[in-house]
């Protein structure tokens, strides 16, 4: 599948006499294939928005290469801008214009047919409120308007920074459906979000960034698999058999944690080997359940941002990886 978005070794450094030097992006890599819904995750201050702004020509990078739709940016931005719809960070519009005026002015600037304005207003559910001034809108309505402005160009690549911000549950579900529909129509969607359950539900692949570097990337299920601990929960027909089972499994080199009515095993590659081993000892399994990890726990583990009781984590306290070839990488990268 051709890459719609590729970033290699992207660097952005902010220098301040008072606060010194801070690497917002420290050799960041990313790849998004055509037709995918791609999740872009990272803790606050990790460099997500800086990446998107740099990609869209709003921030000048200090190093690295970027392409959008096969064209090197920022040089080719005037060529590709008409095919890339984007909202960056919170939606911002002139508060005294109506939604229709706002979109109509953008359509005029981008030479998009005026009929497209009503189409996107319908699509994001703002048709009946389109004549009202933006300053009367709720955050969720502004978010819908922002998505509408990004869709106005009917882009090949849609980049949305926190699109579900401020949306009600119904709105989040509508947004999810919209993203899937757009992807099915051939549009590539890059979603930056903190709602990891949503990302896991709608994204085909993810990139996780921490302190300006990529810490994981690839298809969602592969990232989850790479970071599952191989934990398995085992229950036996008779609770009295648990000590014998513990002894047999420990002898086989499996780490076992005992509980009153079950055992937790760690480092199990093939759960079938557990049933075979126990059966050979005449111990019969009533439940064998691999413990699934979700994106949230992988994210917290990779970025080291899980809350610790009694500690107040600061914004920049997250995982710093050693190099570009970090464990957990499954695919992607420049030329991969």
């Amino acid at each position: 599948m051709p890459a719609v978005l590729e970033i290699e070794g992207l660097r952005k450094t902010y220098k301040s006499r008072r606060r010194g030097t801070r690497n917002a992006l420290d050799g960041f890599d990313m790849r998004v294939d055509a037709g995918q819904v791609h999740g872009f995750l990272g803790p606050n201050g990790s460099g997500k928005t800086t990446t998107l702004r740099t990609l869209l020509g709003l921030i000048r990078p200090d190093g690295g290469r970027m392409t959008l739709l096969g064209h090197e940016v920022p040089n080719a931005l005037p060529t590709v801008a008409g095919q890339v719809g984007a909202i960056v960070e919170s939606p911002q519009f002139f508060p005294h214009f109506s939604a229709r005026d706002t979109l109509s002015l953008l359509a005029g600037a981008g030479e998009v047919p005026a009929t497209r304005v009503d189409e996107v207003l319908e699509l994001v559910g703002l048709r009946d409120r389109a004549g009202e001034r933006v300053k009367t809108y709720s955050l969720g309505m502004k978010q819908r308007l922002a998505v509408a402005s990004a869709l106005l160009k009917n882009p090949k690549l849609l980049i949305l920074d926190e699109p579900a911000n401020g949306l009600d549950p119904g709105g989040i579900r509508e947004m999810r459906t919209l993203m899937r529909t757009l992807a099915e129509s051939g549009m590539t969607v890059v979603l930056s979000s903190h709602i990891l359950g949503e990302i896991q539900l709608i994204c085909d692949s993810v990139t996780i960034i921490s302190l300006g570097r990529r810490v994981a990337f690839g298809p969602v299920d592969e990232v989850l698999a790479q970071h599952s601990s191989g934990a398995v929960r085992v229950r036996l027909e008779a609770v009295s058999d648990l000590p014998a089972a513990t002894e047999a499994l420990t002898r086989a080199g499996i780490r076992v944690t005992g509980h009153p009515d079950h055992l937790m095993l760690a480092g199990v590659d093939k759960p079938a080997s557990v049933t075979r081993l126990l059966a050979e000892q005449n111990l019969y399994v009533s439940e064998l359940a691999p413990i699934a990890v979700d994106l949230e726990s992988v994210f917290l583990e990779l970025t080291a941002t899980a809350p610790v009781p009694g500690q107040h984590r600061q914004v920049d306290e997250s995982m710093k990886v050693g190099g570009t070839g970090q464990p957990g990488a499954t695919a992607g990268g420049w030329g991969a």
């Binding site: 702004r53 709003l58 921030i59 911002q92 519009f93 002139f94 002015l105 005029g108 600037a109 981008g110």
Partner: protein
């Protein structure tokens, strides 16, 4: 071209633009109406009334001088101390000759188009320049502070093209208001002169001079509009331009004026910007140094003078526009947008 048309639409849709333009035009209309009602046409009746008033003044002077002369003589006879109130010779207390009290002094104010119209072009240019400055600053400043500029750059990534197109649309919009307003200003004062004054002695040379002054006024409006726009773009906020001007006027002009005056600097006004704006409009402003004395052949003491010309003003304003607009363009090209 589509971006230019869109920006022109954006400018005309903004409420601030509409309200400020309306306010500026209302002030201009108020000036014309005010001049209309404070002037009168001079006819035989007004001349006769003025003559009567001059006679009355002469009679008052005669009566007063006689009273004073007799009081003076009584004081001399009584030998009362007058503390220098009266001269030694009481006969010198006389009324001025009748011909020295001119009837013209008692004439009502009248609007002579040939003599007065060019003076009205100064407030015309000043009011519209102020409107242009704040509208220009707000047009781009609000775009920056509300995120509109960022949205636009996601559609049109060529930053300089975007900023210059916005400026071109703004100047077109201001010109579209200023030129008809100038025509109405000419027409308004022509009407004032027709009904409340005189339109005599209007030669083609006078008309040419008025038109050229009007064009210089339009240029001043465009320059101030550009500077307001560029300052707000540089600071990425309307307040940057407005605050900058307040600071410049209060600290840079009033403060500097007081300081120069205290230091007894010669031609202190030469350091103040309004002098150059006035010179631009009136072609020349002559500054005088009252502390000096240049003796003439007739023994008079004339103060030293210094002329500020419209050419000097044009150099100053050109440099100002190039520096401020250049800085705004440089910042637009180089600075990150966050």
């Amino acid at each position: 071209m589509s971006l230019f048309r869109t920006e022109l639409r954006r400018l005309s849709k903004r409420r601030f633009t509409r309200y400020m333009t309306l306010l500026g035009l209302l002030v201009l209309a108020a000036v014309v109406v005010g001049v209309f009602f404070t002037n009168q046409k001079i006819g035989a009746e007004q001349l006769a009334r003025a003559e009567r008033q001059a006679d009355q003044q002469y009679q008052d002077q005669v009566r007063w001088s006689e009273q004073e002369r007799s009081a003076c003589e009584q004081a001399k006879k009584a030998g009362t101390a007058t503390d220098g109130r009266y001269p030694d010779d009481c006969s010198v207390i006389t009324a001025p000759p009748r011909e020295q009290i001119e009837a013209e002094w008692s004439l009502p104010s009248t609007f002579n188009f040939r003599e007065t119209f060019d003076e009205t072009l100064v407030p015309f240019a000043a009011i519209l320049a102020l409107v242009g400055f704040v509208v220009g600053a707000s047009f781009v400043g609000a775009e920056w502070s509300t995120g509109g500029m960022m949205n636009l750059l996601l559609w049109r990534p060529k930053r300089l093209t975007v900023l210059l197109t916005k400026l071109a649309a703004l100047l077109t919009g201001i010109l579209a208001v200023t030129l008809p307003a100038a025509v109405l200003w000419f027409a308004g004062f022509w009407a004032v002169a027709t009904f409340r004054g005189s339109t005599e002695k209007m030669t083609s040379g006078v008309w040419q001079s008025f038109v050229l002054t009007g064009l210089r006024g339009v240029a001043l409006v465009l320059v101030l509009t550009t500077i307001g726009f560029a300052l707000a773009s540089l600071g990425r906020h309307t307040a940057m331009a407005l605050g900058g001007v307040v600071a410049l006027m209060v600290v840079g002009q009033f403060g500097l004026g007081i300081l120069l005056s205290m230091a007894s600097v010669k031609f202190a006004e030469a350091w103040l910007l309004p002098t150059y704006a006035l010179a631009w409009m009136t072609k020349t402003v002559t500054l005088q140094n009252w502390d000096s004395c240049n003796a003439t052949y007739y023994g008079e003491c004339k103060p030293e003078t210094m002329d500020i010309t419209w050419q000097q003003s044009s150099v100053l304003f050109s440099i100002g526009v190039v520096v401020i607009l250049g800085a705004a363009l440089w910042a637009m090209r180089r600075r990150d947008i966050s």
